[in-house]
């Protein structure tokens, strides 16, 4: 048991470190390091521009999308090299946020299902960040039950005509392309009538409207489709096989190991180390220590769970299912941490303005953003179902709509 690199890993790390040291936008390092959930905006700079510039610089030097094949804009690296890169990129990795969906989900789906010509055309600019992609799956009537989506695609000559609405589309407002899951046959069971496409987000009939979130920010959008035309050459996979295509997309989402989920613990530990309570330093208070210790072992448990997966990658093995716990644990933890940090501030915990609030309102921002973390990318409940069914082997829930034609499934609860 050791934490040492193999000689090849050490050589790769040294090369990555040297390049990052010479090329990263260091003027933003401190701010990126201090950023936390609900607050990653750079002051005095447009984060999208900074992120795109960094991604392009990486791509030009061959450091973008490391695990992708070279001909599609990647480096052809091993999974462990990708992890080493992420470790060395450190806070600058936070600039990759706007590319996560494109690189982690859209790209791999294109690689698996697009034609060779399309792959060579669309993947390199996706890798370099010159083109940003989004994923158009969720709908008002299909969130956790994504196969319940209603956006229609109807064949008209060599084209498909799209009508409907998507929701919770991250980054649609700055995306150039998207992958889109549609219903092509409402007369069969819901999983059997779906088809996947990719499309130009500038196509006539696409309208993007930002959603004002409960936190007051707008990271997500509603996307409306009115008679949007997509050529059949942009279909991914067979007609009515979209569900299987989407499973590839979602599988890739879970393969991204070592990306590091935010727990809020380092921020809370730092805060408690300097906070004075009425009767002394917070860090010497018995209750505070107990709470901190409980959060500490969750945070370290996640860290070392990820190390175990990285070790498997290093040996060339597939990581075990342990990593499926990350989002579930971190999502609710960051919310609890934020609530506790406010509690420690007493009545002043209510303040969120940067001038008056403790540490510029960091925990207040975290608190208001946190409910989203327990929903986005699979709710806590869906994550528990996944662990129970795929890891523990428990039977799937009984699905009353499984063999019912989609257009016969009830659409209303209480009348």
């Amino acid at each position: 048991m050791n934490f040492d690199d193999t000689p090849q890993e050490a050589a790769f790390r040294a090369e990555a470190k040297a390049w990052i040291g010479a090329n990263a936008p260091k003027q933003y390092e401190e701010e990126l390091r201090k950023s936390s959930l609900g607050r990653t905006v750079l002051k005095g700079a447009n984060i999208l521009e900074v992120a795109k510039a960094w991604q392009k610089k990486k791509a030009d030097a061959g450091w973008a999308c490391l695990h992708w094949p070279k001909e599609y804009g990647g480096r052809g690296s091993s999974p462990i090299e990708r992890v080493i890169w992420q470790q060395e990129e450190g806070p600058f990795g936070k600039l990759s946020g706007m590319f996560i969906i494109g690189h982690g989900m859209c790209g791999p789906t294109m690689m698996a299902f697009a034609g060779e010509e399309e792959k060579r055309k669309y993947l390199p600019p996706l890798a370099s960040g010159e083109k940003v992609w989004c994923q158009l799956f969720s709908e008002p009537a299909g969130g956790s039950d994504v196969a319940g989506l209603r956006t229609r695609a109807e064949k008209q000559g060599d084209d498909w005509i799209i009508n409907g609405q998507k929701i919770w589309t991250s980054g649609a407002h700055y995306s150039d392309y998207g992958i889109l899951l549609t219903r092509t046959d409402p007369n069969v069971a819901k999983h059997k009538g779906l088809t996947m496409f990719f499309l130009d987000m500038k196509s006539p009939g696409v309208e993007v409207r930002p959603i004002k979130q409960a936190s007051g920010q707008s990271d997500f959008n509603e996307v409306y489709f009115t008679d949007v035309k997509i050529p059949d050459s942009q279909r991914l996979g067979a007609v009515n096989d979209g569900w299987n295509v989407s499973l590839t997309t979602l599988m890739n989402e879970r393969m991204s190991i070592g990306a590091g989920v935010s727990t809020g613990f380092p921020e809370l530990f730092d805060f408690c180390n300097s906070l004075m309570l009425d009767d002394g330093p917070a860090i010497e208070d018995r209750n505070v220590r107990s709470r901190l210790a409980n959060y500490a072992v969750k945070a370290s448990g996640l860290k070392y769970t990820s190390m175990r997966a990285i070790s498997a990658l290093s040996k060339g093995d597939r990581p075990g299912p342990e990593n499926s716990i990350g989002k579930l644990v971190a999502g609710s933890m960051v919310q609890e941490v934020a609530m506790y940090a406010l509690d420690l501030q007493g009545a002043a915990g209510v303040l969120s303005g940067p001038e008056d609030a403790e540490i510029a309102g960091k925990f207040q921002a975290m608190l208001l953003r946190a409910p989203g973390t327990r929903v986005e990318g699979g709710t806590d409940e869906i994550m528990r179902n996944i662990i129970a069914e795929r890891v523990l082997g428990l039977p799937g829930d009984i699905r009353v709509d499984k063999d019912v034609p989609f257009n016969k499934i009830p659409t209303k609860g209480r009348a």
């Binding site: 040492d4 175990r308 662990i387």
Partner: protein, 375 residues
Amino acid sequence: MNFDFSDEQKQMRDAARKFLAEKCPPKAVREVLDGKATYDKALWKGLAEMGFLGVAIPEEFGGAGAGHLELCVIAEEMGRALAPVPFSSTVYLAAEALLLAGSDAQKQKWLPKIASGDASGTLALFEGKGNPSPQAIKLSASGGTLNGVKKPVPDGAIADFAVVAARTGSTGRDADISLFLVDLKAGGVEVRSLTNIDPTHGQAELTFKNCKAEPLGAAGEGWGILTQVLDRAAVLMAFEQVGGSDRALEMGRDYALDRIAFGRPIGSFQAVKHILADMYVSATLARSNCYYGAWALSTNASELPEAAAAARISATQAFQHCSKNNMQVHGGMGFTWEFDCHMYYRRANATAVTLGSLSYWEDQLIDRMRKKNAA
């Protein structure tokens, strides 16, 4: 990076699991639970023959000289099987204390006997309620004799020798505490068995009356040695707890697959699935913290104090969580003597306090993290 056990260590785990499945089925645990035996003597001998008792004891003292990573994988299996033998008291506490502080003669006297299964030992630290602290140690030592009462002492009624924490000064500092080695069969110690929540592991009261004892380690260094022994034992006990957590999770999962209610396996209800998913989460967090503890233990890393506390807290929480919810998933059957669920619940809650309680280790963890932060 190789943050995992080696193939050889995994083979040893498999061998231990196979051996314990055969020699230590629940029926054997119940012999001790029901008071028909104080511990499983045949199992103890078998563990010695497999080389498990002395796996981390150097060859010059009769052990296998393998190491602490090997001991971790065996500890996990011992916890999984609820082995009713004085393994933790003898191997994690007494042997570790001897290895850390014993003279060559003391090691020669006891370690080969531990490895061969001819002697078991324990640590006599606590004196009634409370957590490890120098102030709580009242038992006095003067002129090589001990006077005072220790309880609870794990496996104290069957141990052949004990490492005893005693007061040798009254300055109010850690240096007031020294360790002694006592042959419990040589007279001067009254032993009383105590009823406890986990009868598969005995607890005892030891009363020392002018009992002859030899120093273990230098005078005044007892507290420092004890702290190290407790850290090392915390990692090893955490592996037992993780083994128990995994088994409790499996039992719950298996029952949820087999038990039909409302016309379907109860494991298809999300209310039950989510309980089991959460058990998997806590067992996984604990296992990962334990691996870090194992690394720190096996390399004598400066991170050991922090790693040990984290492993201890995480594994204690996981075992309590998994064992109580295993009973919940079993419903009414889980609350019968006949089903094995309660044996895990008992062990989980006993191991949660016997090395110092959760709140004690929480306190330790934060102290240690602060020290590291300041450094």
